[in-house]
Symmetry: C2
Subunit: 90 residues, 2 copies
């Protein structure tokens, strides 16, 4: 599991579209697909159904809030670290 | 920032000793030192004083609870994902 892959999953869950989710992360669609696939392999199950319209699997729906919690905590850490950086630079 | 580097930082903060912290993570001391150094480079400041006795810097002390929150959230995610895996295998 990596923070980046969780961010990719959250973006896909938000857009339900590989192209738009990739664009929102400023990466290519194949790069996003690879990250999602690698996350799914590490978990051992699929997070999204790849049909004409993307939908989350039951497991994807269930894990989404946990993933959001991890990424939110990481953003708070980064913010706390960055704030100090700015203070130091001042 | 990576989950693994945050885990390394938390282990060092817990042991205040590179050798013991590395052992607790089942990695070598140089590997731990590298992870801590890379985290410090990405943050732009030091997290630990490397003297005869390791101590956390002011920034290290301040960021430790944020790091612990991220890793705890990641462990909850992994646990939620693993539980489902076990349910699926049953």
């Amino acid at each position: 599991m990596s923070l980046w892959r969780l961010q990719c999953f959250i973006a896909l869950a938000g857009e339900l579209h590989f192209g738009r989710a990739a664009a929102s992360l400023f990466i290519t669609q194949p790069a996003l697909s690879l990250q999602i696939k690698q996350l799914e392999i590490s978990l051992g199950f699929e997070l999204a159904h790849r049909a004409r319209r993307v939908t989350l699997t039951e497991e994807g729906c269930r894990l989404l809030p946990y993933a959001e919690h991890v990424v939110a905590a990481a953003e708070v850490f980064a913010s706390a670290a960055g704030e100090r950086g700015r203070l130091q630079a001042a």
